[in-house]
């Protein structure tokens, strides 16, 4: 996983530098978006295949859905709580108005 993370970081950075320096021409930019979408949809299709092939996942699909819902409720609640805390104690109202 360590090497994997490094590879992700390198690829992200190369993309980031290309995007930052505007090295992509306008025509290619529009096409890039389409390529990106096709690539994403194809990957999601493959991910779907993996879910479909995996008997264990299919048979527990509804319990996965329930687990997922519980996780997302906690994720959202805690995010709101933490932002509320920093908004109340660190970013005071004057900061917001001042800027």
């Amino acid at each position: 996983m360590g090497l994997r993370l490094l590879i992700y970081l390198v690829i992200l950075s190369i993309g980031g530098i290309i995007g930052y320096r505007d090295k992509v021409s306008e025509g290619l930019k529009a096409r890039l978006n389409t390529i990106q979408n096709i690539c994403l949809l194809f990957l999601l299709f493959i991910m779907g295949i993996r879910i479909g092939i995996d008997e264990k996942v299919i048979s527990t699909f509804f319990s996965i859905g329930l687990k997922a819902t519980i996780i997302s409720i906690f994720t959202v609640s805690f995010s709101i709580l933490f932002v509320h805390l920093i908004s109340k104690y660190i970013i005071v109202k004057e900061d917001k108005i001042e800027s």
Partner: protein, 197 residues
């Protein structure tokens, strides 16, 4: 696009369940790896294009970076607490939360690790986006405008942004956008790191 995403996943599930032999599973590993690298490259370009974000951060003040930080810490700790309740391995629960609402990338990053966790991350982050879109106006009205950004996570820079802009003011919208960009940058790095813990 959302509809296309769902159709792709459902068609894939159908194809995998009805037509393809279990031996096909192994050959999808390399496809996911190559596709993921391509996807990350495009994500990098998208992030790089938003160069004005750094100027905006400087203008508003660096304190504003605490908002994405709180969103990230809140998301991960929330999913870990849910993981304790659901008796899940905490690194796996944390990784699902570290998806920060970006369901396509988070499920992809977990695809080679475990199909079950990948499906869980996909659904959990889709549900997060739905909860965000529904609750933004209420949270903005009754709790606070900054808090309304919290539920969106990475989606604060794209799908949720119009809703935030509608429910709050222009400054909150800029902060939401910055938060979304920073969350987006964090997912590909944070998720594998938490999974490794």
């Amino acid at each position: 696009m959302s509809l296309k995403i769902f159709i792709s996943v459902i068609l894939g599930i159908g194809a995998g369940y009805f037509f393809l032999p279990p031996t096909f599973f192994a050959s999808t590993d390399i496809i996911i790896d190559i596709g993921l690298c391509l996807l990350l490259f495009f994500v990098g370009i998208d992030i790089g294009k938003h160069k004005d974000v750094f100027i905006k951060i400087k203008n508003i003040g660096f304190k504003i970076l605490l908002v994405p930080l709180a969103v990230i810490i809140g998301s991960i700790s929330g999913s870990i607490v849910a993981g304790i309740i659901l008796r899940m391995p905490l690194n796996e629960a944390g990784a699902v939360g570290a998806g920060l609402g970006w369901y396509t990338l988070s499920s992809m990053l977990l695809a080679n690790y475990s199909t079950e966790l990948s499906a869980l991350a996909f659904i959990a982050n889709v549900v997060r986006e739905i909860i965000a879109l529904i609750t933004i106006p209420m949270v903005a009205k009754y709790i606070g405008s900054l808090e309304s950004i919290a539920s969106c996570g990475a989606t604060a820079m794209d799908t949720s942004l119009p809703v935030i802009s509608e429910a709050t003011d222009s400054q909150t919208t800029i902060i939401a956008f910055i938060t979304g960009v920073i969350c987006t940058m964090s997912v590909p790095l944070l998720l594998p790191m938490i999974l490794k813990l």
